[in-house]
Symmetry: C2
Subunit: 337 residues, 2 copies
């Protein structure tokens, strides 16, 4: 048996844990996962998983568990793949700096995260490295180390190509990762066009997610209450226009596909769940970055801009709740001249 | 002493109770208030009022208290003035029909409510009557018959002129009402231009109210978090443009005035409080009607339209919470052809 690839996994939530499970399932990887809030519980009892792909699993643990990236490096490194499956909230957490200690000369960084432009900081920090993109379709939630996985894992892995490295080499490390990840229960395929996949997913994430978060309604109710026809379609059309200005021609029928993608469930999009839980929202990579591209390319985005302004305010509310922003006791107001 | 004017007051909330107090204070009116949820409590103990204008008042009751409009008419009518101080939610409650039994030949209807176009239904139903407009600036809240009144009562009463009646007659009944309402503690003045006053107030209500409701932040925080400059000003400029298309030229500096009008408080606009309490939102008269005017007059309203779509969804959420909308257990989805 060939030696197993050493993988560091940061972000063992609903999606991350299923990624870790898949990587260990093949027997081709030795996964070290960094755990914070669930560390003690997982060391003691492991994760309990109810998965539409793998069935009921008691006591799942990756080969190694670490309390931090530095702990992981010290005891289990070096890593061939450093995989991020955290939410992408660059206005709160700088993941580039957090994983930096684990990125050695031989490491490939894998970003299984939502959004556009998420690779920029990693490219700058790790200019000689291959950086992979993972776009995952998976409905999986973690509540206190109890994983409930309801939508079959379908993930596309591709390359954020680095022009200073040979394409073949980058494709090879990507295909090796796919080989580790893919198995008989799920589908992990090569993503020929990372940019296309990412813009395509934004048709859902930039439009349905924010509306559900702002009005606190699931997709079924948004449709029943008349929100899908007007507003959601307008937002989706704006995303299509920005994508086009960025060189990505999404087919018109992607709108209908995304609107119908949760049928027949009263599905709560992740951003609605995040607001409920008081979690930070992925607004910068899902809406902020597309809007910056729109501005650069002169694309009109009247509806998305309003949604973004509202979500920035909600994000500040969450930051205040979490103590990241402290509001002065007396409201500061302009003094009259 | 002249005989007191008989006044029916519908809507004894935070604002309505202070209107009732002012009308009784002068000794010139005999007020009958219609109470529903607070009826038993107020009959027994009256309202407790803490008012910046009148001080602490125990056990306030209007001359008569009725359980319904028909009860009021039967026992205490006919009424010279029928005063509405309810929230204006025509998509939920038809106040025209509710007050109709109390509107006799001699009655004047007084609408102390927010919004644009609120008089239309009353004009149609009561074509021979004078209808008055009240635009009130008062910070007053009712929590279980406990009134907390924090901003001095400043109210402008004017006429929604009825072209089939002599102007002098309409002005006279308006000025009589002002004479009853006005006293040494507060300010009730004649509104020369009802339309102007209503559009002016919308610069606050259509812009600050909805944003605070959608993001659940008070005005101080919206400003601190950067929401006042971009989004709120854009919304206000759209209201100014619609007003202009409707023949009302609001001065540019009304924007700055409204943005600063709550200084230095972390003030929660009423719509934010309504969302918190799960109350219906006054979206149709505050945003829906202005947008319908904009559409008719070809005024562009990219931001207000998005806000309206979001608020309509929130209103549906509240309607579902209150049982006015029942969502089917299985989500209905289009069948494929």
């Amino acid at each position: 048996m060939a030696s197993r690839s050493k993988v560091l996994l940061v972000g063992s939530g609903g999606v991350g844990t299923m990624v870790a499970y898949a990587l260990e399932y093949s027997g081709k990887a030795e996964v070290t996962s960094v755990l914070r809030s669930d560390y003690d519980k997982v060391v003691k009892d492991g994760f309990t998983i109810d998965s539409c792909d793998y069935g009921h699993i008691e006591c799942f643990r990756t080969t190694n568990i670490a309390k931090s990236v530095s702990d992981a490096c010290e005891n289990h490194g070096p890593f061939e793949y450093v995989v991020l499956v955290t939410k992408c909230v660059p206005d709160v957490t700088n993941m580039v700096e957090i994983i930096a200690p684990a990125v050695t000369e031989e490491s490939t960084v894998v970003l299984i995260q939502n959004g556009i432009g998420i690779e920029t900081g990693f490219k700058q920090k790790f200019p000689g490295h291959t950086i992979l993109s993972g776009v995952s379709m998976i409905g999986s939630a973690n509540r206190g180390a109890q994983i409930s996985h309801e939508v079959s894992d379908f993930v596309k892995i591709g390359v954020f190509y680095n022009p200073t490295l040979p394409k073949e080499k980058q494709d090879a490390v990507c295909k090796k990762f796919i080989d580790i990840y893919d198995n008989d229960k799920i589908e992990c395929t090569f993503d020929e066009d990372v940019k296309f996949s990412r813009w395509r997913k934004l048709v859902y994430n930039s439009c349905i997610n924010p509306v559900s978060a702002l009005v606190d309604l699931d997709v079924g109710r948004i449709e029943l209450f008349g929100g899908d026809g007007g507003l959601i379609e307008q937002l989706m059309n704006e995303i299509l226009a920005i994508a086009k200005s960025d060189g990505v021609d999404l087919p018109e029928d992607v709108i209908e596909f995304m609107i119908r993608s949760d049928d027949p469930n009263y599905y709560k999009p992740s951003m609605q769940v995040d607001v409920e839980k008081g979690n930070y929202l992925e607004i910068e990579v899902i809406i902020g970055n597309p809007l910056r591209i729109a501005k650069k390319n002169g694309v009109s985005t009247p509806a998305l801009s309003v949604i973004y302004e509202l979500l920035k305010l909600v994000q500040c509310r969450i930051k205040e709740q979490k103590g990241l922003i402290v509001v002065p006791k007396e409201r500061p107001v302009p003094t009259s001249a």
